[in-house]
Assembly symmetry: none
Homo-oligomer: 210 residues x 4
C-alpha cells in the first residue's frame, strides 16, 4: 500500500480509474464488483473514485462511454471509402471481429453487461451502445454501396446486417475462448468458407426457401 499517492493531473488519474474499472467490471460484473475493488485495482483509495467520478453508477457509464468511443474509432478507421465495396465490408467486419476478440474486457462491459443490468442504466448506456451500432451500420452501408454511392441494400437491411455482425462476433468470441487452438484469423477463414459453401449449394439448387 503506497502511503501517500503521487499528485497526478486529473486526466491521467481518471484514465487510470476507468482502465481499472473496465478490467474489474468485466471480470466480476457491475454488482459483484465493489468500488473498493476498483480503487485497489487503480492503486488509489476509495474516496478518490467519488471525488473524480461521483458515484459507482457514473463510474460505470464512464466506462461504457469510453469503450464506446474506442469502438467507434476502430470501426471508423477500418472503412476506407475508396475501396471496392464488398472488399470494404469484409475487411471492416474482420477489423470489428478482431477488436471484439482482442478486447474481451471492453466488449464484455459494453455489450454483454450493459444490457443485463436493470433500470438505472437503460438510458445513457443505451445511447452509448446505439452509437456503436450506428457506426457499424454505417460501415455496412459503405461496404455495400457501389462506387458511385448507389446503395445495394436499404437502410433497414443494413441495420439488420449490422446486428447480425454484432451478434455473431459476440457469440463467436465465446467459441474462440473455448477453443484455444483457433485464432481470430482461422475463425474468419472458416466463416468465409462457410459462406462459400452456402453459395455453392444455392447455385446447385438447394434453395434456402422457407
Amino acid at each position: 500500500m503506497v502511503s501517500k499517492q503521487q499528485r497526478l493531473p486529473r486526466e491521467v488519474r481518471e484514465r487510470q480509474m476507468i482502465d481499472a474499472a473496465v478490467r474489474v467490471f468485466s471480470r466480476s460484473g457491475y454488482h459483484t464488483a465493489s468500488v473498493e475493488e476498483v480503487a485497489e485495482a487503480a492503486g488509489i483509495s476509495k474516496p478518490m473514485v467519488y471525488i473524480y467520478l461521483g458515484s459507482k453508477e457514473r463510474l460505470f457509464t464512464a466506462c461504457i462511454h469510453r469503450e464506446a468511443d474506442r469502438m467507434v474509432e476502430v470501426v471508423r478507421a477500418a472503412v476506407h471509402p475508396g475501396e471496392p465495396p464488398e472488399l470494404g465490408l469484409w475487411s471492416g467486419l474482420r477489423v470489428f471481429f478482431c477488436f471484439v476478440a482482442d478486447n474481451r474486457d471492453s466488449w464484455a462491459v459494453l455489450y454483454q453487461h450493459a444490457r443485463t443490468q436493470g433500470e438505472p442504466f437503460s438510458k445513457e448506456v443505451g445511447a452509448a451502445r446505439s452509437r456503436v451500432i450506428d457506426e457499424i451500420t454505417r460501415m455496412v452501408v459503405a461496404g455495400t454501396s457501389l462506387p458511385g454511392g448507389e446503395r445495394i441494400v436499404s437502410q433497414r437491411d443494413a441495420e439488420i446486417l449490422a446486428r447480425i455482425a454484432i451478434g455473431a462476433a459476440d457469440s463467436l468470441t465465446d467459441w474462440l475462448l473455448e477453443h484455444p487452438e483457433e485464432s481470430p484469423e482461422s475463425l474468419i477463414d472458416r466463416v468465409t468458407n462457410l459462406a462459400l459453401i452456402g453459395v455453392e449449394r444455392y447455385n446447385t439448387g438447394d434453395v434456402p426457401s422457407a
Copy 2:
C-alpha cells in the same frame, strides 16, 4: 398480496415461483433483483422461496435449468429428419428464432445472464447452456446433411454456424424490439433476402475474398 393463504400443492407453487423468477431476473438482472421482488411477483412471501428452492442461487439455477429444458424441447421438435436438408436447416432456424423472439425472458435469463455472472454459477449453469448450444449444433448438422446422412460441413463448422445463429438471433431480437412494425416473420424474410443478395453479388463477381 393474497389476503388469505392460498394452499397449493408443492408442484404448482414451485412452477409459479420459477415463472416469476424468470420474469424478474430477465428484467432486472440476477444481482439487481431481490428475492423479495421475485416473491412478490409470484404472489407469495419471501420465506416460501427459501423453503422451496433453498437459496437465491439455487432459484437462479432452477430458472436456467427449466428454460434450457424448454429450449431443447423446442429445437428438438423442430427438426424433422425426413426433410430435405436445406429446408430442415431453415425451418429449424426459423423455429429457433421465433422461440427467442417470443420468449424474451427465457432467452435473457438463459443466454445473456448466464454468461455474465461470475463464479458461483460457472458449473451448473454452464452445463445447462451447453445443452442448448449442443442441441442447436445438432440441428445444424441435421439440416446440413444429405438424405443419406453424409455431412456437408464438419462438426467444428457446424458449431460455428450454431454460434452465429445464436448470436444473430439474440442481436436481432433487440432490433425487433426497437421496430414494433416488424414481425419475426418479416424479419426472417429480410434475412433470407439478404442471403440471396449476397449470393447474387458473389455470382456476379464481387468476391468476399479473405
Copy 3:
C-alpha cells in the same frame, strides 16, 4: 417419515417430546436447536409441539422442570437419615456426582445452559435450579448433623458446601470427558485421597492459613 402418527395418550406424547428436547437442547444449545429438530427427534411434526407445549420457551422450561424433578428425586433418595453423618454426606455426594456424570444431557440443560440464556428464562428457570440447590443443601445439612440432630455447620455454610459440591461436580465431569480412561468411581477415589493428603499436611503443620 411416518405418514400418520399413532394416537397416543397425552402423557406419553408429552414425555416423548421432552425426552427429545432434552437430548437436542443439550447437544446444540437452546438457540441453535430449532423446534423442527426437536419435533424430528421426537418423531412427530412441528405443530404438535405447539399444541402440547405452546412455545419453544415453554418447551425449554418444561425440560428444566422435569430434569430438576429427577435430580431432586435422586438426591432425596440418597440421603438416609439413619446413617452416621459423615458417611451420609459422602455417599450422598457420590450419588450426586454419579448422577451428573451419567446424565450429561440433563445436567447440561439444567445447569450449564439454563444459566447462560438471557432474560426470558431468568425467573422460572431460576426457581427450578433453586429447588435442586436447596435439596443438595438439605443433603449437606443432613450429612453434617449429629445423630441427635444437632448441626455442625450453619445453614449458610451448608449452602456454601452445596455450591462447592455442585461446581466441583460440574467441572470434574468435563475432566472426566477428557480422560476416558478414568471412571466416576476412580475419580471419587482420587478426590477422597486428595482430601486425606490435605488433612495430613495440615496435621503436620502446613496450615492453609491466609
Copy 4:
C-alpha cells in the same frame, strides 16, 4: 448515540468493541445477543463491528482470547515461587477467586459460555480455555510442591484440584451474587473455616471413608 462521528484510532475502537461485547455476551449469551446490541453498547454503528472484527463469530473468539489472556496474567502474577507451598496455593486460589468474583462478565464469557456453544467454536475457543485451565493447574502444582521442588500431588491430581477450584469459584460466585451482604473475603474465610472443621472431624474419627 454519538451525534458526530468520533474518529478514534483503530486500536482504541477495537478495545471498546471487545469491552462492550464481553459485557453483552455475558449478560445475554452468544446467540441471544445481537451484533446490533454490541454495537450500541460500544457507542458505534453495526458495520464497524464487521470492519474491525469480521463476523459475530470472530468477535466472540476475540472476547475469549482477550479474557483468557487477562486471566492467565492474573494467575501467573499471583504465584510467587519463593513462598512456602501451602501458603502459595491458598493465596493463589484467593487471587483466582477474587478475579472471578470481580470479573463476572469475563468469567461468564470465558467459562460458562465457551463450554456450551457448539461446533463453530470448538477449536479456537477450546484452546483459549485450555490455556487458562493449564495455568491454574500450574498454580496448583507450584502451590503444592515442597521448597526443593518435590511434588506432593501428581500431575493428574493437580489437574483435578484445578478443576475443583474452577468449578467451586464459578458456583460460589453465584452464591455471592445472591448474598450481597457477603464479600469475596468473608466467603474465603468461611471456606477456610469449613476446611478446618472437616479436618477436625476427621481427626476425631468421622472418616470420610470411600
